[in-house]
Symmetry: C2
Subunit: 275 residues, 2 copies
C-alpha cells in the first residue's frame, strides 16, 4: 500500500490560468504529483455570483476526491475568494487558496502600508484580499482595482502590445494615484503580464505573485501534516502530472505549452456537471 | 383554451447579449410575448467547443419547452452556428438562428461580392456564415475576422473609448484590406458598437445586424405557420416579457436597462443543469 504522502495534490481553476500555480508547484515542490482540473466549459468565474462559484467548486472537489488526492489547492483567485470556507466544510484534507498566501507576502512587503490589488470583478467585490490583509495588519490600506479586460488580452496572446500597455496603464493609474508601494497580481493570468506591469510601474513597486507564495505555503502545510512526498515523483511514476478539463481538450495543449515547464501531451475531458 | 398563436416566443442566448435580439422582436413584433433565457452562469460560449455548446443548448431547449412556447429563436450567434440542426432534431416547433437571416441580407447588400464577418472565435471556426452565404451565392467571397476582445469591452461599457476604437481598428484593418463592402456584425454584442464601427469604416460599407434580420425572418415564419399573435400581448397580459437566467439575477437589470425599450424588473434564476 502506498503512503498518503505519495498521493497527488488536487489543483483546480476556472480554466487554464491556474497552470501558473501548477508551474510554481512543479518548480518549488518537484517531487509532488499533481492532478489538475480546469473548468474550461464554464470559464470564466470572475463575473459570476458567489452561489454559482461555490456550486461549481463543490462539484470539482467531489471529482478531485475520486482521484485520491492528499490536499486541495484552489488556484483560481475568484474561487479562493468565494469558496474556500465551503470546501473546507466538505473535506478533512488541507485546502489552500491563493488569496491568503498573497496577502501574507503583501503585508510583509509594503513599507508605506498601502497595498494595491489587481483582480477580477468578483474577487474585488468579495473583499477577500482586504479582509485577509486586515486580519494580519488592520493599519494597511488596501486599494482594489477590477481589471476585467486583462484575462481576454492574455488569452489572445496580446501580452506585449501597445493596446495592452494602454489598458494596463488605465488600471495602474488608479492604483498609483493612491500611492500604493506593493501590488498583488490577484488573478492567475496576471503573472503572464508581469514584465509589462513592472515596466509601467517602475522599480519602486513590489509585485506580489500569489501563485509563487501559494507553492511555498503548500510546502509548509504538507510538511506540518507529514504529507511531503519523500519518493521522488519523476522516478516512481512516468506521468506525475495529470490534467482534466470540462470542455473538449483541443486548445489545452497550446496554452499549457505557453506556461508549463514540462511537455503536456493532453488533457482528459470529464462531465463535471455529473459530480 | 388559448390558441397556440398566443403562446410566447422562446428566445435564448449564452448571456445577456441576446437582449439585442429581444429588442428587435419587441420593436418589430409588438404583439408577441417572449420568454428569454440567458445562460449567465456559463457565459460566454464563444470560445467553447461544439460538443459543449450543443449540450448546453439542448438543456435550454428542454427548459423553454416547459414554458409552452410556439417557436424558438437562438439569439446567440455561436449557438446558432453550432446547435441549430441539433435543436431542430429535438422539436417540431419552428427553430430560427441568427446566422441565416444575417447571411441572406449580406448577400442582398453586397455589390462587389465581398462580405466580411466579425464574430467570436467559435462562430468563425464553425464557418457557418461562409456555408450559409455560399448556399445562397457561391461567388461571394467571405472574409472572417474573430474579434474576441469586443464582448468584454462592451460588457465594461467601453463602447465609446479610444482604446475600443484602436481594437476595432485592428480588427477592421484586416477586413478592409480584403475590400469587403458589407460587414456582418455577427455577435449579439456588436450592434452596441455600431456607431463606432460605422465611423471607422465610413459610409461606403453596409453594416448588417443579424438581430434585426432575425426579427423580420421570425415574423415571416410565424405568419407562414399561422402562428402570428392576433391578440395584442400588451392588452391581454400585463407581463408579456419574462426573463430567466442561470446565474444570480442581480446584474441583469443594469444590462437589460442599457438595451431594452421596456422596463424590466427582474429575472428569475433557474438551475439549468437539471434540464
Amino acid at each position: 500500500m502506498t503512503h498518503l504522502s505519495e498521493a497527488p495534490i488536487g489543483l483546480f481553476d476556472s480554466g487554464l490560468g491556474g497552470l501558473t500555480v501548477a508551474r510554481e508547484i512543479m518548480r518549488n515542490l518537484p517531487d509532488e504529483k499533481i492532478v489538475y482540473f480546469g473548468d474550461t466549459a464554464r470559464v470564466p468565474y470572475g463575473n459570476k455570483s458567489k452561489g454559482t462559484v461555490v456550486r461549481y467548486s463543490e462539484q470539482i472537489l467531489r471529482f478531485l476526491l475520486t482521484q485520491n488526492i492528499k490536499a486541495v489547492v484552489i488556484a483560481c483567485n475568484t474561487a479562493s475568494a468565494m469558496a474556500l470556507e465551503a470546501l473546507r466544510d466538505k473535506t478533512d484534507l488541507p485546502v489552500l487558496g491563493v488569496v491568503s498566501p498573497g496577502a501574507v507576502m503583501a503585508v510583509k512587503a509594503t513599507r508605506n502600508k498601502r497595498v494595491g490589488v489587481m483582480a477580477t470583478k468578483s474577487t474585488i467585490a468579495s473583499e477577500s484580499y482586504v479582509k485577509e490583509i486586515h486580519r494580519l495588519d488592520p493599519e494597511v490600506t488596501v486599494v482594489g482595482e477590477p481589471c476585467p479586460l486583462l484575462v481576454p488580452l492574455v488569452e489572445e496572446g496580446w501580452t506585449n502590445t501597445k493596446i495592452t500597455d494602454e489598458i494596463l496603464q488605465h488600471y495602474l493609474d488608479h492604483l498609483m494615484a493612491q500611492q500604493v508601494d506593493t501590488i498583488i497580481m490577484g488573478c492567475t493570468h496576471y503573472p503572464l503580464l508581469r514584465n509589462a506591469i513592472a515596466r509601467l510601474v517602475g522599480d519602486e513597486i513590489t509585485l506580489v505573485n500569489p501563485a509563487y507564495e501559494t507553492a511555498l505555503a503548500l510546502k509548509k502545510v504538507l510538511d506540518e501534516n507529514g504529507l511531503l512526498n519523500t519518493t521522488p515523483a519523476n522516478k516512481a511514476d512516468p506521468y506525475p502530472y495529470r490534467f482534466f478539463v470540462s470542455d473538449e481538450a483541443e486548445r489545452f495543449r497550446d496554452f499549457a505549452g505557453m506556461i508549463l515547464p514540462v511537455d503536456v501531451r493532453s488533457a482528459e475531458m470529464i462531465p463535471i456537471e455529473k459530480y
